[in-house]
Symmetry: C2
Subunit: 233 residues, 2 copies
Amino acid sequence: MKLQNITDSENGPSRRRYEDACGTAHALDLIGERWALLVMRELMMGPKRFGDLRADLPGISANVLTQRLEGLEAAGIVVKRQLPPPAAVQVYELTEWGYQSKPIMGALGRWATRSPLHDPTLHLSAVSLMLSFQAMNQPARHKDLTATIGFRLGRESYVLRLEEGAIDATRGDPDGADLVFTGAARAVAAAVYGGVPLATLEAEGALAIAGDHILAERFITFFPLPPKAPQPV
Amino acid sequence: MKLQNITDSENGPSRRRYEDACGTAHALDLIGERWALLVMRELMMGPKRFGDLRADLPGISANVLTQRLEGLEAAGIVVKRQLPPPAAVQVYELTEWGYQSKPIMGALGRWATRSPLHDPTLHLSAVSLMLSFQAMNQPARHKDLTATIGFRLGRESYVLRLEEGAIDATRGDPDGADLVFTGAARAVAAAVYGGVPLATLEAEGALAIAGDHILAERFITFFPLPPKAPQPV
DNA sequence: CGGCATCCGGGAAGATACTG
DNA sequence: CAGTATCTTCCCGGATGCCG
């Protein structure tokens, strides 16, 4: 038992904050530390356990994840909650205010894909893929289409609902969807954002497609990437 | 003269990037380092010199500012430019892509002002004040009003143009504006966001108001802050 | 196993002094 | 004025270990 670990986040004169009244600067005080925004991203589709967060954020270490969750909770962005029995496990969940950052993260992601340095072939989490569909949505491309598309991405499954141009994404079982993709999130991304033909991914065993293949071919054309910014010199 | 300082930003295996295909993660690779976003904020109303950036970002040190500018330039967000003679000084300017982050920063700032921990009485830069008017704009509050309002905030002067609910802000001389505020940016913020009466600020000598006082009293009611998020626990 | 504390090495950030 | 050099401090990342 330790005697003097009051978390020492005692208010020293200025524990490395920007002493700035600007709202944007305060946002950085809240979520500007390393990994903080990505932890929020992983919670954007619903609550998660510590271990799942860790698994979906390759590269984060346990102690940093602990610190970020503490910080986000102290800020009122995340709450630690006990699931009701029989599950009775502890999960972390965004508050209503935390969820309101979703469109901002979407806009930030869309902006950053204009970077010439962006590499879309790296690892991608299941949540990131679902959020990307909403962030990159172009309603005009499918406003006449109503469809349900399922994704089985390792531990997580999602259902995408397209209706009148809007896209709704929820965690849940894809059974009964018009179309179901099974594989890694990055394989789906390769088709949607990388232009890799679905047939190629199926042949490689990277992606399995069940249901309406015509719909699948249409779906992957719905999310055009914005034009790249000019390379610096 | 040093022999071995190739800036050593040689491509080690992964110079502390998130190896993540997600656009938001890439955004953090580009602008997630400390001070980066605030440097961009200070350039949002037009180019600035190194020394002015330093003065408007109290707390940043010269070497960190140098590194951030190098990084932002390498990313294609900022360009270093030589002003034409006779000025012929070096300035830093956002690229077109860099300027496109403006609405994102605005949304981020608006989101963060819901934080119970936000302190609007701290130091505020002139640029932050101008950006806040655009970020917090509620067109319905003044869509019938056409007016020009000037601000003399230390070294910098700005002109705000209100027309049909839109707000346009540019650097420039306030001469001829319907109303001119002269003082520190935080004094204006105290009136607009802090509810401090203009008469009080005038009496204290914190703010001088020239021109249409009625307009001034109306103006400070145009930017309501969003409701606070619940305090954590 | 999930959550959290501890110790340690490397590197980024802060402060200050210095140079062209 | 526009940065660079240097030193210190602190954060991040990784490993280990404790406890429920």
